[in-house]
Amino acid sequence: MPTILVEVMPKAELLDPQGKAVSGALTRLGKSEFSAVRIGKRFELTVDGPITDAIRADVQHIADEILSNSVIEDVVAITYPEAE
């Protein structure tokens, strides 16, 4: 079954407290070569049939309106599986 990937990240200019906490942990572990960590989300949307233009339009809409909030996040990638 085809799986479509949607990736969402907090806006670059916003503080990412989760990423900051992980970055702090890495520093404490001595991994000081990693100067920043940012945490986003990856959604896997599975469809039963072929990926039609209508489904692509739906995915774009869902990604923009539900999976992300444009005030605080950006949709950074929508990836469709290789055509069979």
């Binding site: 907090p10 407290p17 906490a21 539900i66 909030n69 005030v71």
Partner: protein, 231 residues
């Protein structure tokens, strides 16, 4: 006067909101997220809590609940709507209020009695305050950092739509110390702190007069009743 309080999966403070409405002198009406029915109420409260466990984003899944279609329609027609904490998050997710709420900048959940300044006393929910009144009501959140674009922040400030501003320490990194805002019409108000927890002597924040005697939150509910009576 009947004021509805909507329960979502994971709401916590709906009974406190109902109690506040009762103490203020109106009849609380319990509403359910899964219905398309506001049961003829005159105003609405979206209560605090952690609807859907804050999955996806705080308030995001609740904001597309069945009943939200009726809430958005009623709000756009002028019905008074108050969103408290998670309810505020839902109102931003539903685009009834601008901006968004993100995790507190210090990364911790915070619970404290919070001083606020009431900067807009023309809204349905604040008309019984005096301009620049300083009040204290409880605050409790993990994702209370209010953000919006600089353009939007300037617009909110310019139009006087910042209703409540944090005094003293900014508890969560909210931009420009914003604790609560309103829509252009002044019928929809959202705030992170909890007025419904400061409505009855003995159960509110401490005041200089006596322990737990703070009832500053009651004025939001009596304001709405006054506005509805005079409408």
């Amino acid at each position: 006067m009947r004021i509805g309080v909507i329960t979502f999966p994971g709401s916590l403070d709906e009974r406190d909101a109902q109690r506040a409405i009762r103490i203020a002198g109106a009849e609380p009406v319990a509403l359910w997220h899964g219905e398309h029915d506001l049961h003829g109420v005159d105003a609405l409260v979206l209560p605090g809590g952690f609807s859907y466990g804050d999955y996806l984003r705080a308030g995001a899944i609740a904001s597309v609940s069945p009943i939200m279609a009726e809430v958005i329609d009623a709000a756009n027609k002028g019905m008074p709507v108050l969103g408290i904490c998670n309810g505020f998050q839902m109102l931003t997710e539903a685009h009834l209020l601008p901006g968004g709420l993100i995790r507190n900048d210090h990364g911790h959940f915070v619970r404290r009695d919070q001083a606020l300044r009431v900067e807009n006393v023309d809204t349905v929910w604040t008309n019984e305050f005096a301009a620049n009144d300083e009040i204290v009501i409880p605050l409790k959140n993990g994702e209370g950092g209010f953000i919006a674009s600089e353009h939007e922040l300037d617009r909110l400030e310019g139009e006087g739509r910042v209703v409540f501003r944090y005094l003293g320490t900014n508890p969560n990194g909210s931009l420009r110390d914003i604790a609560g805002i309103t829509n252009e019409r002044g019928n929809v108000v959202g705030l992170m702190p909890h007025p419904e927890h400061a409505v009855e002597p003995g159960f509110g924040p401490d005041t200089p007069d006596a322990m737990r005697s703070g009832t500053d939150g009651l004025t939001l509910f009596t304001s709405a009743i006054t506005a509805l009576v005079s409408a």
